[in-house]
């Protein structure tokens, strides 16, 4: 499949600490690509670069053939990339429904005057916003809690809400930053189903995760980061056998121990 998103030679230097170094990679359209690596490997930094929250010290981000490296976050969203956050950034003091409706902001145009005076344009916008936002809630299975305060919901549902909100942007690519963090096995299963549903809608998924079974089960392709560099890339089966990856997670050990941690089929 064609590449929809790629990073080329991205470096991110935080006052002397190289958070991301010479990161390059392609994400295929409509794929589910995962980024894994030990804590502090630079995964979230990379997502922030793609999403426009950080401008890299060097390198480029190319989306649908356009250089989006220096675009501010709201323009990146406008161009078709949506994201969620590792530590959840739902809008306080707003309901589930309202949280999702905000993402429809860029698709509408009515301004202060039009909204204050409830002119026809704002009425039309409001109707369109509500319809589309409701669709996203249905897609994510959240309609039952539409009018609840978003932050009063259980954690697992909040995670799903953030994904529903991202989907309301009608993105071509969605960046999920550790969406399974803090979820129990059942919730993780629901999440996996949702991610498959998203992909079957034609949306490309770029996923950062620590939950290895989730990653190995749903990914088409995995990139492994360590100390800000990409140390391996490939389909799940390859990654599981990769020595550098195992070392990165478990540290250098005797080759015997390393062999033991790899899956049985690899030993043959």
């Amino acid at each position: 499949m064609a590449t929809i998103l790629s990073v080329e030679g991205v470096f991110v230097n935080f006052g002397g600490v190289m958070a991301v170094a010479n990161m390059s990679g392609d994400v295929a359209e409509q794929s589910i690509t995962s980024i894994i690596g030990p804590n502090g490997a630079g995964k979230t930094t990379l997502i922030n670069v793609i999403a426009g929250a950080i401008i890299p010290t060097d390198g480029r981000v190319i989306f649908k053939g356009q250089d989006i490296t220096n675009l501010p976050p709201h323009r990146v969203a406008e161009s078709g990339i949506a994201r969620t956050y590792q530590n959840l950034r739902l809008f306080k003091h707003m309901t589930t429904f309202e949280n999702v409706m905000v993402a429809r902001h860029i698709k509408t145009r009515s301004g202060f005057f039009s909204c204050a005076l409830k002119l026809p344009l704002s009425r039309k916008d409001e109707k369109a916003i509500r319809e589309k936002a409701w669709e996203c809630l249905e897609f994510a299975g959240l309609t039952q809690w539409a009018n609840m305060d978003a932050l009063s919901m259980p954690f697992g549902r909040q995670r799903i809400l953030e994904i529903a909100r991202a989907l309301a942007l009608e993105p071509a690519v969605v960046l999920l930053d550790e969406p399974a963090g803090g979820l129990n096995p059942q919730e993780t299963e629901t999440l996996a189903e949702l991610i498959h549903k998203i992909r079957s809608r034609g949306i490309t998924v770029l996923l950062i995760e620590h939950d290895m079974s989730l990653v190995m089960n749903i990914s088409d392709r995995i990139m492994v980061l360590n100390y800000g560099r990409k140390i391996a890339e490939g389909p799940p089966a390859e990654i599981q056998r990769n020595h550098d990856v195992i070392e990165a997670y478990l540290g250098k050990s005797t080759s015997g121990a390393a062999q033991q941690t790899s899956r049985p089929e690899a030993a043959g």
Partner: protein, 345 residues
Amino acid sequence: MGRGNLVALIVFGIIILVFPLVFTNPYYLRVMNFAGIFAIICIGLSLLLGYAGQISIGQAGFFAIGAYTSGILTAKFGFNVWSGIFIGIGINCVVAVIVGIPTLKLRGHYLAMATLGIGEIIHIVALADMEDFTKLWRSLGEALGYSPSALAAAVQPYAGLTGGPSGFPGIPTLSLGPWEATTPEQWFYITWGVVFVFLVLALNLIHSRIGRALRAIHGNEEAARAMGVNTPPLKVGVFVVSAAMASVAGSLYAHYVKFISPESFSINESIHFVVMVAVGGMMNVWGAVVGTIIMTILPESLRFFHDYDILMYGLVLLLIMMFMPEGVVGLAQRLYASTKSNRSG
């Protein structure tokens, strides 16, 4: 805007219509007229503070510009009352844009202090008397290389414009053709009519895409941006709205009291407005109205505490902010929500 708000608006409208018929005492009406004028400012501040989450402790500055523009244009240059009002709004909008763009990049305490500073600078300009004004231009002239007297002579006609520390009298009352606003009842309907209109506009705004975007900025600014909201123009926009409302309030104030002095536009006033919004409930625009009424009536009823009025004011504010930070309306909402959930078991 939701059924609750519609019902509240209808009830509110009826109360406004009926109030002067029930409470005919001109003293009460006068107090409520001032409450109405301040409520207009506070509705704008509530949008800024409660919904967009931007702390502004300088609304008295916009209030002052509106009042002085209307006052000066009508009393000293014979402008029509309505031109004065609209020119005042225009000037305030321009000032709000110029000031707002750099200021609203700040956050939290920095933003609060910047707005405080801006409001105070406007106050100082209003306070400066002819001598200061002339001296200022003389020095500027010297610095720029003009002969000091030439520049001073050029600005001479504008020297006494604000009337200095004692302000200036002689502002005509509100008029439309042959009709003039003269009685407290008429002013009650004027001020609270404007409150009502602005309340409707505010509620419309809150329940629209703009309102949600503003609330999203307050809820989590970074996430708002990631969801496509371009935050700077929105922040400046709501700042301009609050300035425009304060301007209208200022113009009404000038025509109501017919005499203005810088005292009414100091840091203390700006703080009063924030207090009104906080006491009523920042997260709800009705809170602005409720808070204004409470904090206008309270000092009046504390009059018999005369030496302690500032003290009581501070104490009440402290207690409310410590134990009831969601304000009166917020508390009412919380209690209502908990009784609803209790009933449904």
